[in-house]
């Protein structure tokens, strides 16, 4: 497992642990020490450290949650306009016995997957697929929509620009704004820029403890504001991108806990936490009338922002 820079103190202990195991020495409480050290390290985690945790290649991604927490998943393909974007996965599935439409981004864990899903950067056809599946769930099947978000943003290339990237993003956002069914979103890892927005227009927005949600990546922000990447750590702090901060700002509705050491170390615990949170949220929205849910969703976006009159 790749150790992140801020996890250095843990890495040394891990090495010692491995050495003792190999030589057959007694652990003498080293395992407990590691546990404590992990807690200590994660107690002082900074916003930019969280960005790195959120991007850890072994962190569970939306497709993993779909596989583990949903049954009867039928993947539906295509934007009906020229492409099927592999970075967006969506289809009908049962969650806890409830029929839902689940839509997620997909980054991939290894080089092969990463290449295939172009690192989870969403193409115009991906946004159009989101819009299409949202309409199908809302207008035809009448089933709730669950979105799972882990994306470094919309793809930016000559191809995606001339294929209508901005136009496609519009269609995804407006489809979810208008959905006549409950929408629950979970940011599981990276939640960057317009791509993240286009999947988080929802009635309930949840975030994993070590996920982040930002108008753009700290790297891009540093690049725009300072013309270099040196300030990405400082900017990460300025941007207010962590679950704790965003809950305080009323941008998100709930934090799904992760143990110290994060989801890449403890995927099963986090899966369970996501499952429980989703169960509760789905029960919650199921009890509300759709008119009231939609009114609240409307108000949430109508009121978004801070300004002075």
């Amino acid at each position: 497992m790749k150790t992140l820079p801020f996890e250095k103190p843990i890495e040394i202990l891990y090495k010692e642990l491995k050495r003792r195991e190999v030589k057959g020495y007694a652990l003498m409480g080293l395992d407990e020490l590691i546990e404590k050290q992990i807690e200590e390290v994660y107690k002082h985690i900074t916003p930019y450290d969280i960005v790195l945790v959120a991007r850890h290649p072994d962190r569970p991604q939306p497709q993993d949650y779909i596989e583990k927490l949903f049954t009867n998943f039928t993947e539906l393909h295509g934007d009906r306009a020229g492409e099927d974007d592999a970075s967006v996965i969506g289809g009908t599935a049962f969650f806890n016995g409830n029929p839902v439409m689940v839509i997620g981004t997909r980054k991939g864990h290894d080089v092969k997957e990463t290449l295939r899903y172009h690192s989870g950067m969403v193409k115009p056809s991906g946004f159009r697929k989101i819009a299409r599946l949202a309409h199908l769930a809302s207008d035809t099947l009448h089933i709730p929509i669950i979105t799972l978000v882990d994306t470094p943003g919309a793809m930016v290339s000559a191809e995606t620009e001339v294929n209508g990237q901005v136009s496609a993003i519009y269609s995804a956002i407006s489809a979810l704004l208008d959905a006549n069914v409950p929408v629950i979103s979970i940011i599981t890892g990276e939640g960057e820029s317009l791509a993240a927005l286009s999947l988080t227009v929802s009635d309930r927005l949840l975030m994993l403890k070590y996920a982040f949600f930002a108008v753009l990546s700290p790297e891009a922000a540093s690049s725009v504001l300072f013309k270099n990447l040196d300030k990405k750590r400082e900017i990460a702090k300025e941007l207010h991108i962590t679950a704790d901060e965003l809950l305080g700002m009323n941008i998100i509705d709930r934090i799904i806990e992760e143990p110290a050491g994060a989801a890449h170390r403890f995927p099963h615990i986090v899966m369970k936490n996501v499952k429980e949170a989703l169960e509760e949220e789905l029960e919650f929205v199921s009890k509300e009338k759709i008119d009231i849910l939609k009114r609240k969703r409307r108000e949430k976006f109508r009121k978004a922002g801070v300004y002075s009159e």
Binding site: M121, P152, G153, A154, M155, V156, S157, A158, E159, T160, E161, V162, N163, G164, Q165, V166, S167, I169, Y170, I173, S174, L177, D178, S193, L194, A196, L197, V201, F213, A214, V215, L216, S217, E219, A220, A221, S223, V224, L225, F226, K227, L229, K231, I235, E238, L239, H240, I241, L246, M249, I251, R298, F301, R302, A304, G305, V306, Y307, S308, E309
Partner: protein
């Protein structure tokens, strides 16, 4: 890819009351008498390059003389995150209010275009590159609400570098907020004409795509992000041509590309078709 290898062009904002008597054209490099440039609607008389206009100039260009009236109360951007980059965002805002006299990056009102009464919003690029902050989002939302209540068509002239980074996630939220306002307006019989001027990037570009008709000023660029963000995200430069409105018209995303000289007439001509036929 030869098409995509043109050099990047930096576009200066020429202050309305410049002290310089001559300006060098960003595109052809020739010196132009400033008064002549202004008389030519800030279009280079040699090469046709469209210099940027301020929000006030844009309103003067498009609306019939004396017909423009601002709507709503002044709404100001605030430093909600206590954001600091090279300077603090609070200081930036103070300075902008003192120098250009706008409280946010959009000017909204009603006016007549070739005699047709319309609601109109104009992005002020001179206000932090026309970036989309909370105050701007609120003003745009109010514009569409006003247009809906008063049965008016809505025109928005876009020019923006994208999201207002200094307002963090609040800036991103404005994209959904304004789209919601547009969709409500359109569902209730509205008619939204987007006008793309150079450049329109990020969230504002997304919003602009909501136009029932999309008109663009010749040589403008519109797309998901600027060169710096693109390079950061993709680890390679974005060929700028891919965001050029002339190409995007061929790709089906822009209805009409016109020079600045034709812009007002074109808009007037479209507005004349709104609800003119009695069912």
């Amino acid at each position: 890819m030869g098409l995509f290898n043109k050099k990047k062009v930096v576009v200066p904002v020429i202050p309305a009351e410049s002290q310089d008597v001559r300006v060098r054209c960003t595109s052809c490099g020739r010196l132009i008498d400033y008064d002549a440039l202004k008389k030519n609607l800030k279009v280079c008389p040699h090469c046709g390059y469209h210099f940027r206009m301020s929000a006030a100039e844009r309103i003067a260009l498009l609306t019939d003389k004396g017909s423009f009236k601002e709507i709503g109360s002044p709404i100001s951007s605030v430093d909600s995150l206590h954001f600091r980059d090279t300077v603090s965002y609070a200081e930036r805002l103070k300075k902008l209010r003192d120098t250009i006299g706008l409280p946010n990056a959009v000017l909204t009102g009603t006016g007549k275009i070739d005699g047709v009464l319309t609601s109109i919003g104009v992005f002020a690029y001179e206000f932090l590159s026309g970036t989309l902050g909370s105050a701007t989002g609120e003003k745009l939302t109010e514009l569409f609400e006003f247009a809906g209540k008063n049965d008016l068509p809505a025109i928005v002239v876009f020019s923006s570098a994208g999201e207002r980074i200094q307002e963090g996630i609040y800036s991103l939220m404005q994209v959904a907020k304004v789209i919601q306002a547009i969709e409500d307006y359109k569902k209730n019989g509205g008619f939204f004409v987007s006008v793309i001027t150079n450049p329109v990037l990020g969230g504002p570009a997304v919003i602009a795509m909501g136009g029932d008709v999309i008109v663009a000023e010749a040589g403008s660029y519109v797309g998901v992000s600027g060169p710096r963000v693109s390079e950061q995200v993709m680890k390679r430069a974005l060929p700028k041509e891919a965001q050029k409105v002339e190409l995007l018209q061929n790709k089906g995303f822009v209805d009409i590309v016109v020079t600045r000289f034709q812009l007002k007439e074109t808009l007037g001509n479209i507005l004349k078709f709104y609800r003119r036929w009695s069912l």
